[in-house]
């Protein structure tokens, strides 16, 4: 049985209220919120956070390849999936590949994995931009999503059929280097997508020997909002069948969106104890249409996702519009008058990959002392080269003392900083993120998150920060 072994979404902490756009600019905006990646997040880190959750919810499975899709790659030429693999501490024999650029690449990645062999971790991360007051600015969103695809008796939903409808037409486009898209007249795309979507869906269901009325859960996504709404209406399926597409809360998160909504749908169905044999259909509209028909298994009702998308959506905090503009480079505040950091040494980063990307320290075998970063000589007893690696990325910790640095260089000052003692041993003084300066005190609980500290000479500095453990978003088995 081949299908989805695990699924997770990652919704960044900050939310822009769309009404704030009109308040600030006098036009634009809309209803609801959109998710906003922090200044220290990019498509790669969004993907990492989602993939961490997906792997955590599928113990016992290790991917043999990682496929990463985004419309805003952090690097060109250089593969971004390798940083994701490193952050996940996947072994070197795991293939890591990018599916670049187009908004169709996320769903394409998923279909390729479902129709292929082996165990593939399909990851997507996206940040959607639009010019101030544009529809894209408000409708877009930032998110990561990850699906683990493979074979086994514990598949949550098995693949039944897929169908694609491909068409060459120019509805939405973006030149390399641009952050915002351009659009043809809206009704042209709507017309094309309605026809293509229906075509793909009908063929997929036919392959599966099913009718529209057999669909138990329908996920329709795509950047063309009117086409998505139109096709749902045309299919005439009942309201409870249509999955929450998170457009009102997260926004359209590009390549990640079909995966995010599918993950959310599976999570909701698992929580509701949805019986085996329920038909789930994913339809994504991008330069054509792709339909995937899945059938839930008995494993779904028993699945306990580690941090459901709906919980993350509920645990966001607002971000002022001006800050959003600054984080997106649409508005340039005075930078801190401190020297900008030098570019990361590629060779040093290579040597320290386990520490830098995996947050792996070392533990003295005799004294048990944890060293962050890893050390060859123990601070306790002085043993030399008698340490074992200790993975700290999933350890939670408690703030011992903290401070706010209003002087140090940061892309978004001030820096909130804390000395953290980890559960089970180890201390590390670390920068905090997704936090308000006055929120942290001795005793605050924090967990680690993979971030981009800064970029210099086009090289991104990926490393770990700590963030508060939010009420209701604690990991499985953890008290909240």
């Amino acid at each position: 049985m081949r299908g989805i072994l695990s699924a997770a979404g990652y919704v960044p902490y900050r939310r822009l209220a769309r009404s704030d756009v009109r308040e600030f600019m006098g036009s634009g905006g809309g209803k609801g919120t959109r998710a906003v990646a922090s200044h220290d997040e990019d498509s790669t880190t969004l993907g990492v956070e989602a993939a961490r959750l997906a792997l955590r919810s599928a113990p016992g499975h290790t991917p043999d390849s990682v496929w990463f899709a985004t419309s805003v790659p952090a690097y060109l030429d250089k593969t971004n999936a390798t940083a994701i693999a490193a952050a996940l501490r996947l072994p070197g024999d795991v293939g890591a590949y990018d599916f670049g650029g187009a908004l169709r690449s996320g769903v394409g990645c998923l279909i390729a994995a479902l129709r292929g062999g082996g165990t593939s971790l399909v990851v997507a991360g996206d940040m959607r931009d639009g010019l101030p007051t544009s529809a894209d600015e408000s409708a877009g969103g930032d998110a990561g999503a990850a699906l683990l695809i493979g074979d086994g008796p514990d598949v949550l939903a098995e693949l039944v059929s897929t169908a694609s409808a491909t068409a060459e037409f120019t509805d939405r486009w973006r030149a390399p280097g641009d952050r915002t898209s351009k659009l043809w007249e809206e009704r042209f795309g709507e017309n094309r997508y309605l026809a293509l979507g229906q075509d793909a869906l009908v063929r997929a269901l036919k392959l599966a020997g099913l009718e529209t009325s057999d669909v138990g859960r329908l996920v329709v996504t795509g950047m063309h909002g009117r086409a998505v709404t139109g096709i749902v209406k045309k299919l005439g399926v009942g309201e409870p069948v249509v999955a929450d597409d998170f457009v009102a809360s997260v926004g359209q998160s590009g390549t990640a969106h079909p995966l995010l909504v599918l993950a959310g749908a599976l999570e909701t169905m698992a929580a509701a104890g949805t019986p085996a044999g329920t038909t789930v259909v994913l339809l994504h509209l991008a330069d054509g249409a792709d339909a995937v028909v899945l059938r839930t298994t008995g494993a779904l009702a028993a699945w306990r996702p580690s941090r459901p998308v709906a919980e993350q959506v509920a645990n966001g905090a607002s971000l002022p519009y001006a800050k959003f503009l600054a984080w997106r480079g649409q508005l340039q505040p005075e930078p801190p008058r401190r020297p900008e950091p030098a570019r990361v040494s590629s060779t040093a980063a290579y040597r320290n990959e386990e520490w830098k990307f995996g947050f792996v320290g070392s533990k003295d075998r005799s004294s048990g002392a944890v060293h962050l970063p890893p050390s060859r000589v123990s601070m306790d007893g002085g043993a030399v080269d008698d340490m074992e690696p200790v993975a700290m990325a999933d350890a939670a910790g408690t703030v011992v003392t903290s401070t706010i640095d209003r002087l140090a260089y940061s892309p978004s000052p001030p820096i909130v900083f804390a000395v953290v003692d980890f559960d089970g041993g180890g201390r590390y003084p670390v920068e905090l993120t997704d936090v308000d300066p006055d929120e942290i005190r001795a005793g605050s609980r924090v967990e680690m998150t993979f971030r981009r500290l800064f970029s210099a000479d086009g090289i991104h500095d990926y490393f770990w920060k700590a963030r508060p453990v939010r009420r209701g978003v604690a990991r499985r088995g953890e008290e909240v």
């Binding site: 950091p341 040597r351 601070m379 401070t403 900083f417």
Partner: protein, 397 residues
């Protein structure tokens, strides 16, 4: 294995020190020439009379040539040293040990820093290429974690703590106002200190050392030769250095209320100098008050007050210019300014003035008959620092 010290084997016979300030019209070479010329004149020697040189600068230049070129030293042995904020002290340590070893008759230590050419406020370290995981926090932020930790451990409420730290700033400005070489020569009130903009944690502008350009220099000879150069030599009683392993940063046992490296350096120096009761035996101490909580904690690390009591002593005026044990009579880093490579030697310069009775009358301390003075530096952060402690005296024996 032991730290034997070189008690009374070497003496300072001449010193020079520039004004510390934002010296826009002076370059590093000017600072070096000014401080060195004063030191040569003070000892009554020429540059040819000096057999070897130690030059301290944190990041204003590299190699001994940074000193040899502006002074036009012809093939002299010149060593450049760097050890964070103990750099100036480290230069003197090298010169003193070289004379004590018998290798040279006359040695000179020069410390200089041109900080204000960077275009940025504060001190900015130039770090070697790395993997991008090193902390980028300012020293102010790292030291700001000391104040709440100390308050919590010893039951000092926030308001009292703020009052204690402001008292330290007020005291150092009071002293600096009486020092023509100091960067800031204005007395401040507690209200000014408390009302200044916050930079890191609860630390405001007046909790932080001044950032200045400057240079200082010392000439040292064997103690038995000292009276040939001056009738009031300053004798080296002890030199101690402790470099921490950095484990305080990652050791869950460290609580940010003390600096073990400073305790270790002080213990070594006291043993070398035979000091058993520093609070009463020392006439004064120049300590590394990079931030006000640093000076507070140092009063305990250096043995001037029992643990958890220094805050009371600060409020009681124990460490004031006319107090029981004057601390930083020259205004300290706080108001004298902190050109990194020069600061250690600047502290010796104040001991040189005070212990010879040559400080300006309005800041001359009344305790010099005790005969001993201390200088203390630290560089780095709580949990990861180097520390230097010296004891000098105005008479042998």
């Amino acid at each position: 294995m032991a730290s034997h010290g070189i008690y009374d084997r070497v003496a300072i016979v001449g010193m020079g020190c520039t004004k510390f300030a934002e010296l826009w019209d002076k370059g590093l070479d000017d600072l070096i020439v000014d401080a060195s010329t004063d030191a040569f004149a003070s000892a009554g020697v020429s540059k040819e009379d000096v057999d070897a040189y130690w030059f301290g600068t944190a990041q204003s230049g590299m190699s001994g040539i940074t000193l040899a070129r502006p002074l036009q030293l012809q093939n002299k042995p010149v060593t450049r040293v760097e050890n964070y904020c103990t750099t100036g002290s480290e230069a003197l340590r090298g010169a003193v040990y070289a004379v004590a070893s018998g290798a040279y008759d006359v040695a000179m230590a020069v410390g200089a820093e041109k900080v204000k050419d960077s275009g940025f406020q504060g001190l900015n370290a130039m770090n070697p290429p790395g993997d991008g995981t090193a902390r980028t926090l300012t020293a102010a932020a790292m030291f700001s974690m000391v104040a709440p930790a100390y308050g919590q451990k010893y039951g000092v409420d926030e308001e009292t703590m703020a009052d204690v730290l402001a008292s330290i700033a007020v005291k150092n400005h009071h002293n600096g106002a009486r020092n023509p070489r100091a960067q800031f020569r204005r007395e401040i009130t507690k209200e000014t200190a408390l009302g200044s903009p916050r930079l890191a944690g609860t630390l405001g502008v007046f909790d932080c050392a001044g950032v200045a350009d400057g240079a200082a220099a010392a000439i040292v000879v064997r103690a038995e030769d000292a009276l040939r150069y001056t009738d009031k030599p300053i004798y080296i009683k002890a030199l101690a250095l402790a470099a921490g392993s950095g484990s305080g940063l990652i050791d869950p046992g460290y609580d940010y209320t003390h600096f073990p490296e400073c305790e270790a350096a002080a213990a070594d120096a006291y043993a070398q100098a035979g000091i058993t009761d520093p609070r009463r035996q020392l006439a004064m101490a120049e300590v590394h008050d990079c931030f006000t909580p640093t000076e507070l904690v140092l009063m305990e690390d250096l043995g001037f007050a029992p643990r958890g009591t220094a805050w009371k002593e600060v409020l009681a005026g124990t460490f004031d210019l006319d107090g029981d044990l004057p601390i930083n009579p020259d205004g300290g880093l706080k108001s004298f300014g902190h050109p990194v490579g020069a600061s250690g030697l600047r502290m010796f310069f104040e001991c040189w003035l005070q212990m010879r009775g040559e400080a300006p009358a309005d800041r001359q301390i009344a305790t010099t008959d005790r005969g001993l003075a201390m200088t203390h530096n630290l560089g780095g952060y709580p949990g990861e620092m180097v520390s230097f402690v010296s004891v000098v005296g105005n008479r042998p024996g």
